[in-house]
């Protein structure tokens, strides 16, 4: 079973002022292989903390998170990550960025080259191999980041608002790309987003998280992702069920935000 299992995950931060912040409280969930989970929530609900723990950049205060029955206690190749701003190495070309992971493993450069070309074609950057990354647009940079992550063949892909900094048109294209890659590779994906539409469109499952303490507020199982594999994404947005779900979640998040404001005042 290559599942991601979280048991009673707790994360408590201490601010420099000495206050304690309960970022995550008793988080329990299981993600099966090949599932696409989107996580949505107001700022400060612990989305990114959850992702950082899963990636192994930070350790939970208590609780255990396992992937394939192995406890996560550090970053690893089996969990690839895509960041909001790409986090590309701008001193390298596109190809060098994509094969970074393989180079670190000292793989045969000839074989690597073939793989790089394949992946560049999949993400739609064929022929851009020798371009310096600082010359790319935001959308292209995210494609490189995707390819760089996928070439390592990870079991789990973590995406931290990967499309947040893109313009609406590019964003739509990238959403299709994410779905396409999900379908073709069958990877498990956790995608964090601020956009309710994106969460609904891409998520096979959707967690709405609530802040203070960070917890899973509500879980949805959604049909739109599988629909999106066949249909145009814009058509799905016109779907009645889609609009209803969107309004419901938006109101939920609005209420949470208001609650926080109320607490602050």
């Amino acid at each position: 079973m290559s599942d991601l299992v979280s048991e009673n995950l707790n994360m408590i931060f201490k601010t420099p002022k000495g206050e304690t912040v309960h970022a995550l409280k008793d988080l329990n969930f299981t993600l099966k292989k090949g599932e696409l989970l989107t996580v949505l929530g107001p700022s400060g609900c612990g989305k990114t903390t959850l992702l950082n723990i899963t990636a192994g950049f930070i350790r939970p205060t208590s609780g255990v998170i396992t992937l394939n029955n192995k406890e996560i206690n550090g970053p690893g190749v089996e969990r690839g990550m895509v960041f909001q701003q790409g986090a590309l190495f701008e001193w390298l070309t596109v190809a060098e960025n994509v094969n970074f992971g393989l180079r670190m493993k000292n793989e045969d450069p000839v074989k690597t080259q073939k793989k790089v070309d394949e992946w560049l074609e999949i993400v739609g950057l064929k022929g851009f191999g020798n371009t310096p990354t600082y010359q790319l647009s935001g959308g292209m940079q995210q494609r490189v980041a995707l390819a760089r992550c996928l070439i390592n063949d990870p079991d789990l892909i973590l995406m931290d608002e990967p499309l947040g900094a893109l313009d609406a048109l590019t964003r739509e294209k990238m959403q299709s790309l994410v779905l396409k890659i999900w379908k073709e590779t069958g990877k498990t994906i956790i995608l964090i987003t601020h956009s309710v539409e994106e969460a609904l469109l891409l998520g096979e499952r959707l967690y709405v998280m609530a802040p203070r303490p960070g917890r899973i507020h509500k879980e949805y199982k959604l049909p739109f992702a599988s629909m999106g594999l066949k249909e145009d994404l814009r058509e799905i947005k016109k779907n009645k069920e889609f609009s209803e779900k969107r309004e419901e979640i938006l109101e939920m998040i609005w209420n949470m935000e208001e609650e926080i404001m109320g607490k602050d005042n």
Binding site: A55, G56, F57, P75, G76, V77, R79, G80, M81, F83, Q84, Q85, A87, F89, E90, W91, F100, G101, M104, K105, P132, T133, Y134, A145, R148, C149, N152
Partner: protein
């Protein structure tokens, strides 16, 4: 010749570029509003105007234009200056350029001095009343000496005659001076003069010492009159010297004055002799009164109108002299700005901007001269190559202890006095470079030495500073351990370390390289540290989840990410090292550009000083341009990430 062409070229460049600029303004559609930086783009023609203008100012104020167009003018002005110098003593006796007669001002001054002493004596508490009376009577008597000199009736015929003689000589000189063939030079004299002129050389010429082969000081202004006009002034100056000597030997002492002053001196002498040891104050006052009497005796004080004719003669000579100068006066006024040629005693010199602002032509010639490896500066060329045997380099690189650690003993001489070589001895010969291979050219000289010092200091600073800085940016121990050390020595101006380091490590390369190493080290550490700690966390996270190890992250992420900071640090360090080096070479040393400047300063070789300034500027610029090129090549992503 060069100066003339250059001057015209500059003139046409300035006029041409201004005209071109005006035409451009008329034709160009101005799209950018005021404040848009685009308005400052382009404008190469203004660059030409700007630099031409600078060059023109330099040419003009260094009197190079005068030299280019009138190469003999300095020599002629020197002769004129000789005349002025000779005439100065005589002229100062009269209100020609002064407000009053010298006699008048001397009388005024001595009267004032006498009054001062008188009031001091009257108010003195140490003097007895009796002494006061005596001293004041001396003052009165001294005062009475003056009318004996200024009374026309008392002026002796002999003195009158002599004054008339001198006046006659001046008038004769004026008459002769106006004649076109005045100094009446013979063929023989002419040939000798021309030979002297040739030997002396031209204005601003630099010669190489035949013995030592090093450059001599520049000949500022040639003394021997090179032109006929100059010769006139030269001869007149000599005659004027004789006349003026004669005048200052003349004394207006009539018998009554002589007896009076002798009486006064004797009286005071005997009074001082009779004083006791404890009456020193009175003695000092008496002595001061005698001093004033003496001054009156030796001042050239004459009756008010006695020298009128002489004054007239001098004024006449002055105007004749100015007439003969003719066009030279205009050259002096317009082409010798901020100063002129002056003579003092036997020598002439440039006084004003021409002195400390060397002429571009002279500077250029001297630079060409110094660039010759056989001349150089202080027996060392500026930049040249020498053949060095490779064995010397091998001996320098290989440490000597290699031979020491080998088994066995070094050869010992036998009783026959022969030394038999063995393996260990042979190795020692190799590691000390005591053998012959082929020779390779190696650069050397002042410029190379300075360059090498900066380069080595910088390389050592980078080699140690960059790893240490990266380490300090990533590791709490390293940061805490090295921070106090670096923060304590870094704020000290590098030159403050120089005396200490130079006295510990010596005035040669070791001390200077170490000083520069210290300078570059702190800069490199700080920039590498900033680069390391400025790495975006997401990049490091990304590298981690792509499976990079700690070493790989350091090598492939943190180091390249710090490169912009490191390279900027190198650029700063080069500037700092360059500045420090020149100052350190000023302090002590035997080679280097700073050393050259320091020696040139001691010998007042202004051209050499300017040459070193140019070399330093050019080398600094070269360093910076090279680094900028490297930066553009190696970190094209800078500012775009």
């Amino acid at each position: 010749m060069l100066t003339q062409i250059l001057t015209f070229l500059i003139f046409f460049a300035v006029v041409g570029c201004i005209l071109y600029g005006r035409r451009l303004i008329r034709r160009e559609k101005v799209d950018a509003v005021f404040g848009n930086p685009e308005r400052a783009l382009g404008g190469a023609h203004w660059v030409i105007v700007g630099s031409s203008f600078l060059l023109l100012i330099w040419l003009y104020y260094s009197w190079d234009i005068a030299k280019g167009f009138y190469p003999k003018s300095a020599n002629e002005l020197c002769q004129v200056a000789k005349v002025n110098d000779s005439l100065l003593g005589l002229k100062y006796q009269f209100p020609i350029e002064e407000r009053e007669f010298k006699s008048t001002s001397q009388i005024k001054r001595e009267n004032k001095n006498l009054k001062l002493i008188q009031s001091e004596i009257q108010n003195s508490e140490e003097l007895k009343g009796e002494q006061k009376t005596i001293l004041i009577s001396y003052i009165r008597k001294t005062n009475q000496l003056i009318p004996l000199l200024t009374n026309e009736d008392l002026l002796e015929n002999e003195t009158k005659q002599k004054i008339d003689d001198i006046t006659g000589k001046i008038n004769l000189l004026t008459e002769n001076f106006k004649k076109p063939d005045y100094p009446f030079e013979t063929e023989q004299e002419l040939n000798k003069r021309l030979k002297d002129v040739n030997e002396e050389g031209g204005w601003g010429i630099t010669k190489v010492d035949a013995g030592s082969g090093s450059i001599k000081n520049t000949l500022e202004v040639p003394l021997v009159p090179a032109t006929y006009r100059g010769l006139k002034f030269h001869s007149a100056a000599q005659e004027l010297n004789l006349i003026s000597d004669e005048f200052f030997k003349l004394r207006n002492h009539n018998p009554r004055f002589k007896s009076k002053i002798k009486e006064l001196k004797d009286e005071i002498k005997s009074y001082r002799k009779d004083l006791n040891d404890n009456e020193e104050v009175a003695s000092t006052y008496a002595k001061n009164i005698v001093k004033i009497a003496r001054r009156i005796e030796f001042a050239s004080i004459y009756p008010p109108n006695a020298l009128d004719k002489m004054q007239e003669a001098i004024v006449k000579f002055e105007s004749a002299q100015k007439d003969v100068q003719g066009g030279l006066r205009l050259v002096d006024i317009f082409l010798f700005p901020a100063g002129t040629i002056v003579a003092s005693g036997p020598s002439c010199s440039e006084q004003g901007s021409g002195r400390w602002l060397p002429k571009p032509s002279d500077t250029f010639n001297k630079f060409i001269l110094m660039s010759k490896p056989s001349v150089g500066y202080k027996d060392i060329p500026l930049l040249w190559i020498q053949m060095v045997d490779v064995s010397k380099m091998i001996g320098f690189i290989l440490p000597d202890w290699i031979a020491d650690i080998l088994p066995g003993e070094y050869p010992v001489h036998t009783k026959d006095g022969v030394v038999k070589q063995n393996f260990k001895g042979g190795v020692l010969k190799i590691v000390t470079g005591d053998f012959n291979l082929f020779k390779v050219p190696v650069p050397y000289g002042h410029i190379w030495d300075s360059f090498l010092r900066v380069f080595l200091g910088l390389v050592f600073g980078i080699l140690i500073g960059v790893p240490l800085g990266l380490f300090m940016g990533l590791n709490r121990f390293a940061k805490g351990f090295f921070d106090p050390l670096i923060e304590l020595y870094r704020p000290v101006p590098p030159l403050a370390w120089a005396p200490l380091i130079i006295s510990v490590l010596g005035i040669d390369n070791t001390g200077k390289v170490f000083l520069l190493f210290m300078v570059s080290l702190s800069i490199m550490i700080i920039s590498a540290r900033a680069g390391a700690s400025g790495t975006q966390l997401s990049k490091i996270h990304a590298a981690h989840s792509l499976g990079a190890s700690k070493k790989q992250i350091l090598r492939h992420v943190i180091f390249p990410n710090s490169l912009p900071e490191i390279l900027t640090g190198i650029r700063v360090a080069v500037g700092m090292c360059w500045g420090t080096l020149v100052a350190a070479e000023f302090l002590a040393g035997t080679t280097g550009i700073g050393f050259v400047e320091n020696v040139a300063k001691k010998y007042f070789q202004y051209e050499v000083i300017w040459i070193t300034i140019f070399i330093m500027g050019l080398l600094g610029l070269l360093f910076d341009i090279t680094l900028r090129k490297i930066i553009d090549k190696t970190i094209p992503w800078r500012g775009k990430g």
